[in-house]
C-alpha cells in the first residue's frame, strides 16, 4: 500500500492543472466558481478547447478519441478540472449518449454522431424521466409506433436538463406496450427541430432554468435513429446509468467551494473581526473538510480498485460516493449562505430582468440561489432514498 502518487501521476496532475487553469477562459471559470449559470456558448467553447487538446472524451474507445487512462489519471483529471472550476464536459454528450452509440450504435451512427458529439457540434439532452414515473423510471409511457421507415412519437418527458440548448435528444420510448415494464422500451435519437416537439421551461425554486418539459406530438423519427435493437432500450439505459457515476462525488468541486468560502469569509465581518477568524465558523467548516477528505480517500480507494475488479463489479465503498458527496455539497452551500448573512436576501438573478447594480457584495448574489438549487443533488439522478434502497439490496444483501 502506497498512498502517494507516482512521479508520472504527479506530472499528469501538473499538466492537467496547467491545462484547465490556462486554457479554459477565466471568465467561464469565474462563472462556475460563483455558481452562475453557463451559457450555451460557454459550454461549447469549453468543450471544444478540451476536444482540441484531446481531453474531451477520455472515457470513449480510443478509435473515437478515448485515452485509456488509468483510473488514477481519470481521478486526477476530474479533480483538477473541478478544482479549477472548469466546466465539466457536456455530460449528455460525453458520459451518456456517446458511450451508448460507441457501444451499441451501428457504423453509420458512429460516423455520423461521435465526432460531432465530442466536439459539441451537436448539443444533446436526455429524455428519460416522465411525469408519472419519477423514481420508477421504467414506468415510462411515451409511445413510439413504427410506421414504415419511421417511428411516430407521442408523449411527454420532464426534468429535461438544458433541453433549451439541445440540438438532439436521446429518448427512452415505449415500442411494445404489451410487454412487461422493462421490456418493450427502445432507445431513440431525435432531432429537436423535428415538427411536433415543444419545450416548456420549468423554473426551479432558485429562479433558474435548468430543466424543462418536452412534449412530443406525432413526432416523426426516421427508423435509422434507433440505437441497437428495438425493445432492448432498457439494457442500453442501464449501461448508460452505470457510466454516470464518474466524478459523481464532486470532490474537486467541493474543494473549490471550501477554498471560496475561506476566501469570502475573510472579507466578511462578524462581531468586529473577519468571519474566518471566528472559531465557531472555523469548526463548522473544518467539520465539512473532514468529511470531504474522507470522501476523497474513499474515492481513491474505489479508483485504485477499479483496475482489479472484473467489469461491472463494485467496491462497496463506491456506493457511498454519491450519498456523501451530495450531503457535503449541500452543507457547503449552507455555509456560503452563512458567509453572506443578511445579503442572502436580495433576489438578484438576471432571470427576472434585474440588471441593476448589486446589493451588498458581488459574491452574495448567488448564495441563496445556489443553496436552493443544490437541493437537487439529492433528488436528481436517482434520489438519495433510491440510492439507499439500491445499496441495501445490492451491497448489504437486505
Amino acid at each position: 500500500m502506497d498512498l502517494t502518487f507516482t512521479e508520472e501521476e504527479r506530472a499528469f496532475r501538473a499538466e492537467a492543472r496547467r491545462f484547465f487553469r490556462s486554457e479554459i477562459p477565466a471568465s467561464i471559470r469565474a462563472k462556475v466558481a460563483e455558481g452562475e449559470g453557463l451559457t450555451r456558448d460557454d459550454m461549447i467553447t469549453s468543450q471544444r478547447i478540451m476536444n482540441q487538446h484531446g481531453w474531451a472524451v477520455p472515457n470513449w474507445p480510443v478509435a473515437w478519441g478515448g485515452k485509456e487512462w488509468s483510473p488514477v489519471q481519470v481521478y486526477l483529471y476530474q479533480d483538477e478540472m473541478q478544482q479549477a472550476n472548469a466546466p465539466t464536459p457536456i455530460a449528455f454528450n460525453v458520459s451518456m449518449v456517446g458511450p451508448v452509440i460507441a457501444q451499441f450504435g451501428n457504423d453509420e451512427q458512429k460516423q455520423r454522431f461521435l465526432p460531432a458529439t465530442a466536439n459539441a457540434d451537436i448539443f444533446w439532452c436526455q429524455g428519460f424521466s416522465e411525469p408519472g414515473a419519477g423514481s420508477d423510471l421504467a414506468g415510462l409511457r411515451t409511445r413510439a409506433e413504427r410506421k414504415g421507415d419511421k417511428y411516430v412519437v407521442n408523449g411527454q418527458k420532464i426534468w429535461t436538463t438544458l433541453a433549451q440548448y439541445a440540438d438532439w435528444i436521446f429518448c427512452l420510448v415505449r415500442t411494445d406496450p404489451a410487454a412487461k415494464k422493462q421490456e418493450g422500451i427502445s432507445f431513440l435519437l431525435i432531432d429537436m427541430k423535428t415538427p411536433g416537439i415543444t419545450v416548456r421551461p420549468i423554473i426551479t425554486i432558485d429562479g433558474g432554468r435548468e430543466v424543462n418539459e418536452v412534449f412530443f406530438d406525432n413526432v416523426e423519427v426516421p427508423a435509422e435513429n434507433l440505437v441497437g435493437q428495438e425493445n432492448k432500450g432498457w439494457d442500453y439505459a442501464k449501461f448508460l446509468l452505470g457510466n454516470e457515476r464518474t466524478g459523481i462525488a464532486r470532490v474537486g468541486a467541493s474543494k473549490a467551494k471550501v477554498a471560496r468560502i475561506k476566501e469570502l469569509a475573510a472579507l466578511e465581518q462578524s462581531g468586529g473581526r473577519p468571519l474566518i477568524e471566528d472559531p465557531k465558523f472555523q469548526e463548522k467548516l473544518a467539520a465539512v473538510e473532514v468529511e470531504l477528505k474522507a470522501l476523497e480517500m474513499t474515492q481513491l480507494r474505489v479508483v485504485a480498485d477499479e483496475r482489479k475488479l472484473e467489469k461491472g463489479r463494485q467496491n462497496p465503498a463506491s456506493s457511498i460516493l454519491k450519498l456523501s458527496g451530495s450531503v457535503i455539497q449541500q452543507r457547503l452551500t449552507e455555509l456560503l449562505m452563512e458567509v453572506v448573512g443578511p445579503f442572502a436576501m436580495p433576489y438578484q438573478r438576471e432571470f427576472d430582468g434585474n440588471n441593476e447594480p448589486v446589493v451588498g457584495p458581488e459574491y452574495a448574489t448567488e448564495a441563496a440561489p445556489m443553496y436552493f438549487n443544490y437541493r437537487k443533488v439529492s433528488i436528481y439522478g436517482g434520489s438519495n432514498e433510491i440510492q439507499h434502497n439500491i445499496i441495501a439490496k445490492a451491497i448489504l444483501g437486505l
Binding site: G134, I205, G207, K284, G341, P342, V359, G360, S383, N384
Partner: protein, 382 residues
C-alpha cells in the same frame, strides 16, 4: 396555565384564517406578487377592514389592543399564506418602535394613520458590515442648528421601498460598535437626500437599499437618543412574530408533504406506504411541534422587560425555529422530489421563506452563541 384562546382571540383567529383560506391560495399569491409594488393594495385594505393594521395599538387611538398572543395568531396565519404585504415592517416592526420609542404625541399622530392603512413604515438599521450586531451603526447624525443631519447607508430594509416613513438609526456619539450613542430618528420618505432602491427578496417579498446623504431631520425627529435598548426590545418582539410566521409556514409544508405522500403513486402504491418516508414525516412533525412550542414561549417572553431574560428566551426560540425550519423545509422538498424543486409549486416558496426568516436578525447559530454566553436557559434547576 392555560393554552386556550379567549373568545376574542378565537374570533380573530377565525377571521384571519378565513381571509388566508379565501384570499391567499398559492395561485392568488402569484397574482399579488406580480402587482407593481410586489404586493396587493386590495389585500391591504382588507387587513385594514379586519382591524389587523391596528392590532398591537391602544384602543383609544383606534387600535385593537392586542398583545403577543394576538400577534402570534395573525403571523402564524400569514405564514400559512406567505403574505406579501408590508405588515411585518409597518405593524410589527414599525409598531413596536412606535410603542417602545415613540412618545404619546407621536403615537397619537401616527397610530390612527397606521390603523387606517394610510401610513406604511419601515426600519432602516442594518448596514454593510453590521451583520447581526444591532450595536454596529456607522451612519452618523450631526446636529446643525436645531436640526439633525444624517449620513450613511442602510441595507436590506424590509419593504423600505413602499414605506411612507422610515425609522432610521444613526450614531450621535461613540464608536461604530459602542452600545451607547445610537439615536433613533423618524424620517419622511420624501426628505431630500434620502434615496431608496427597491428590489425583490429571495422569498418573494421586497426590500430596499437606503442612502442618506445630508438628510435633514427636525429636532422632533429624534425619538430616542440612546435607542439601543428600545431597538432591541422591538426586534425581540418582531423576532417572536417571525417565529410564529415560520411555524405557519412549517405546518403548511408538513401538510402539503403528507398530502403528496398519500396521493403520489410510485412502484404501484402511494409513496406514503414506504416506511422510510413515514418515519421522516414523523421527524418533520416533531420538528414542527417543537417549533410551535417555542414560538409560544417567545410570544409570552417578548414582553419581558428584563432584557437578559428576554434575550435568553428569544434566542432560544430563534435557535429552535431556525433548526426546525431548515429540517422541515429541506425534507419537504426532498420528499416531494422533482416537483418540490419547481417554482410553480408552493412547497418551495415556504422553504424559501423559512430560510430567509433564519437569516433575519441572527440565524440559529448566532442565537445559540448569545444564549450560551448568558449561561443557557436553565440556571438552577436543583
Amino acid at each position: 396555565m392555560d393554552f386556550d384562546l379567549t373568545d376574542d382571540q378565537r374570533l380573530l383567529k377565525e377571521s384571519v384564517d378565513r381571509l388566508i383560506a379565501d384570499q391567499y391560495q398559492f395561485e392568488q399569491r402569484k397574482k399579488y406578487m406580480a402587482e407593481p409594488g410586489g404586493w396587493s393594495p386590495s389585500l391591504w385594505s382588507q387587513f385594514t377592514e379586519l382591524g389587523l393594521l391596528g392590532l398591537p395599538f391602544e384602543e383609544t387611538l383606534g387600535g385593537f389592543g392586542g398583545g403577543a398572543v394576538e400577534t402570534m395568531i395573525v403571523m402564524e396565519a400569514f405564514g400559512r399564506g406567505l403574505v406579501l404585504e408590508p405588515y411585518f415592517s409597518t405593524v410589527i416592526l414599525g409598531g413596536g418602535l412606535l410603542r417602545r420609542a415613540g412618545n404619546a404625541a407621536l403615537r397619537g399622530a401616527l397610530v390612527p394613520q397606521v390603523a387606517a392603512g394610510k401610513l406604511k413604515l419601515a426600519f432602516a438599521h442594518v448596514e454593510r458590515h453590521s451583520r447581526y450586531d444591532l450595536n454596529d451603526v456607522a451612519t452618523t447624525a450631526k446636529k446643525q442648528g436645531g436640526a439633525w443631519v444624517l449620513d450613511g447607508a442602510k441595507s436590506v430594509v424590509l419593504h423600505g421601498d413602499s414605506a411612507d416613513k422610515l425609522f432610521v438609526t444613526a450614531r450621535i456619539g461613540g464608536g461604530t460598535r459602542d452600545r451607547a450613542g445610537i439615536g433613533l430618528f423618524l424620517v419622511d420618505g420624501a426628505t431630500p437626500g434620502l434615496s431608496r432602491r427597491g428590489y425583490p427578496t429571495v422569498d418573494g417579498l421586497r426590500a430596499a437599499e437606503v442612502t442618506l446623504a445630508g438628510v435633514r431631520v427636525g429636532a422632533d425627529g429624534l425619538l430616542d437618543d440612546d435607542a439601543l435598548p428600545a431597538v432591541e426590545h422591538a426586534i425581540d418582539e418582531a423576532t417572536a412574530a417571525l417565529c410564529a410566521e415560520a411555524v405557519g409556514a412549517m405546518q403548511a409544508m408538513h401538510e402539503t408533504t403528507l398530502e403528496y405522500l398519500k396521493t403520489r403513486q410510485q412502484f404501484g402504491r402511494p409513496i406514503g406506504q414506504f416506511q422510510v418516508l413515514q418515519h421522516r414525516s414523523v421527524d418533520m412533525l416533531v420538528a414542527l411541534e417543537q417549533a410551535r412550542s417555542m414560538a409560544m414561549f417567545a410570544a409570552v417572553m417578548a414582553q419581558e422587560t428584563d432584557a437578559r431574560e428576554r434575550r435568553r428566551a428569544i434566542s432560544a426560540a430563534k435557535v429552535q425555529i431556525g433548526r426546525s425550519g431548515r429540517h422541515v423545509g429541506q425534507e419537504a422538498v426532498q420528499l416531494h422530489g422533482g416537483i418540490g424543486m419547481t417554482a410553480e409549486y408552493k412547497v418551495g416558496a415556504y422553504f424559501k421563506r423559512v430560510t430567509m426568516i433564519d437569516q433575519l436578525y441572527g440565524d440559529a447559530d448566532k442565537h445559540l452563541s448569545l444564549l450560551a454566553g448568558l449561561g443557557g436557559l436553565f440556571r438552577d434547576a436543583a
